[in-house]
């Protein structure tokens, strides 16, 4: 059985895995720009999180631009905000046909591989998860997110070709991430959540599955994250074969748990901004308890943030979250519930 799945299912303790690196970047006194361009700083941020918070695992930066940049997209890199893609790289059949699958030497990819290697080599007490964007979301970043939504119907062959190229790149990137020694990868596929279940299957799952088939094994786990899913894409997410699924705050976790097999790890879904970043410590505690009550008794549930924690989340809120999980756990264990 997959080691990570086993670790969660057999754990006597409730597990928490907020997706976060920004609190680490801030704590070590670096800027977002430095962390997303320098593998050593990126690693130190992951290291800070690993050393200072009692979480199930740690994750690398959820940077949804690094792969698009490798393809040649223009990127804005603000000092202290997450990077973004500007403009569109491809717009029709010709430009998609001409698009070359980049090597892993392009853009900031080498720095990301470095950060993952340093984290895997030096963080020994918990699993380290790499991260990458999903095939549909990457295609959307290259083709324009609104335009691709209509193009899947008007120019399906072009979009399928674009998806194949993106997937080809992501397979080699994920293989390289796996080779750094990390225990898995979080594939972020937010844009696929806006599709119907059938379209999500055809334009996202079929491609995510190729990545899963290429890299997932007993010691390397794919966590498929889709914060856009409001309830219509859950079946498609399960069909990807990913051993773990991660959901955003737009979905009802109770229903998700009912819909997913018991041996797939389910993660989610406290609002990263409204609760973690803007909430008071008391609001964090309350929301955490409420979610734990709703999901109680499900061994495959790991409580998490609904998405990557953005910059400027108070450390006290993260502590309030983790303490609440621990306290709830203690109450539960002592009552043998």
């Amino acid at each position: 059985m997959n080691k990570f799945t086993q670790q969660v299912l057999q754990s006597p303790k409730l597990q928490a895995l907020p997706i976060m690196t920004h609190p680490g970047i801030e704590a070590i006194g670096s800027t977002v720009y430095e962390a997303v361009t320098n593998g050593h700083i990126h690693y130190q941020a992951i290291r800070y999180i690993a050393d200072n918070f009692d979480t199930l695992a740690c994750t690398s930066i959820m940077d949804l631009t690094v792969e698009a940049e490798a393809f040649g997209a223009k990127i804005n890199l603000p000092e202290n905000e997450v990077p973004s893609v500007s403009g569109r790289l491809v717009s029709d059949a010709e430009s998609v046909a001409a698009l070359e699958i980049p090597t892993l030497a392009k853009g900031r990819i080498p720095q990301y591989l470095l950060a993952n290697r340093l984290a895997a080599e030096n963080i020994k007490d918990k699993p380290v998860f790499s991260g990458c964007i999903g095939p549909f979301s990457l295609s959307g970043r290259l083709y324009d997110m609104s335009e691709i939504m209509a193009a899947i119907y008007i120019y399906p062959e072009t979009i399928l070709q674009l998806l194949s190229k993106c997937t080809g790149f992501l397979v080699s990137y994920c293989k390289a991430l796996k080779a750094t020694g990390t225990q898995g990868v979080v594939i972020a596929e937010p844009a696929a959540g806006l599709l119907s279940g059938d379209d999500c299957m055809m334009f996202s799952t079929n491609f995510v599955k190729q990545i899963v088939d290429a890299v997932q094994d007993d010691s390397f786990t794919v966590i498929l994250h889709n914060c856009g899913n409001t309830g219509y894409c859950t079946e498609a997410m399960v069909a990807s074969g990913a051993r773990a699924l991660h959901f955003g705050n737009a979905i009802d976790m109770e229903k998700v748990i009912e819909q997913c097999p018991g041996d797939v790890i389910i993660m989610g879904n406290l609002n990263p901004v409204a609760i973690f970043q803007q909430g008071t410590e008391e609001a964090v505690r309350k929301a955490t308890r409420k979610l734990l009550e709703k999901t109680a008794g499900h061994k495959n549930f790991v409580i998490s943030s609904g998405c990557d924690l953005p910059p400027h989340v108070p450390e006290a809120n993260i502590r309030a979250f983790l303490e609440t999980v621990e306290h709830y756990d203690f109450l539960c264990v002592s009552r043998v519930c």
């Binding site: 997110m145 209509a150 119907y153 008007i154 379209d199 219509y232 901004v273 409204a274």
Partner: protein, 223 residues
């Protein structure tokens, strides 16, 4: 005769049939779309006002309704909006000459700091379909850009979109600046994290949970 054209056109827009070349929806593959039917209708003497009111607006209302009931998703709605735009291209000369009156000018943008634009684009297209001239300022729109736009079009209604809890607060300074530059300007806001109470608290004139609500607000404002 004219009702025949209008019915066909309305169907094209409702189901997202843009033009002859578009293979979507599969059941209409190979048939003319909103583009061709509008051209033919105008040649046959159907008036642009009839096209706008009795085909495009009717169809987009149905689409908005289906979307708010989760019967269709973002792609289907964008296809309908594209079909509507394909029809609208043929109406533009009539708007420009004044032969057909637009309902008004609507300036829209995603507030500064925010890069989400799918919802904003959708709403903008729906508003255009409802008979407005739309000026889309794009994403990450700074206060000054909104101000410049209202100074240029002092009678316009302004729409602001935000998808992040951190950027929805940026709407307040925009509203203040716009209202002080051109007093009396009406401003509506929208985006997933907002609420009607929040809209009131920042001084907006209205909040639209979805495009349909937004368009109803615009109609109320312009009446």
């Amino acid at each position: 005769m004219s009702s025949d054209f209008l019915e066909k056109l309305s169907e094209c827009v409702e189901f997202g049939k843009i033009n002859l070349a578009s293979p979507y929806p599969p059941q209409m593959k190979g048939l003319p779309g909103a583009d061709e039917i509008t051209r033919e209708a105008l040649q046959a003497g159907v008036t642009p006002t009839e096209i706008l009111n009795d085909a495009l607006i009717v169809a987009m209302n149905k689409v908005g309704q289906k979307f708010s009931e989760n019967k269709i998703f973002v792609p289907q709605m964008l296809l309908s909006a594209k079909a509507m735009s394909a029809s609208m291209v043929h109406l533009k000369p009539y708007f420009a000459s004044g032969a057909v009156q637009r309902r008004g000018i609507f300036i829209i943008g995603t507030v500064f700091g925010d890069l989400h634009d799918i919802g904003k684009n959708l709403f903008a297209m729906m508003v255009e379909g409802a008979g407005w001239e739309v000026i889309d300022l794009g994403i990450d729109v700074k206060t000054e850009k909104f101000v410049e736009a209202v100074e240029r079009y002092p009678n316009a209604v302004v729409g602001i979109s935000a998808l992040l809890t951190t950027t929805m607060v940026n709407m307040k300074p925009v509203i203040e600046a716009v209202k002080s530059a051109v007093p009396g300007t009406k401003i509506i806001v929208g985006g997933a994290p907002l609420s009607a109470e929040f809209a009131v608290s920042i001084g907006a004139d209205g909040y639209g949970k979805n495009p349909q609500e937004g368009i109803m607000l615009l109609d109320k404002i312009s009446d």
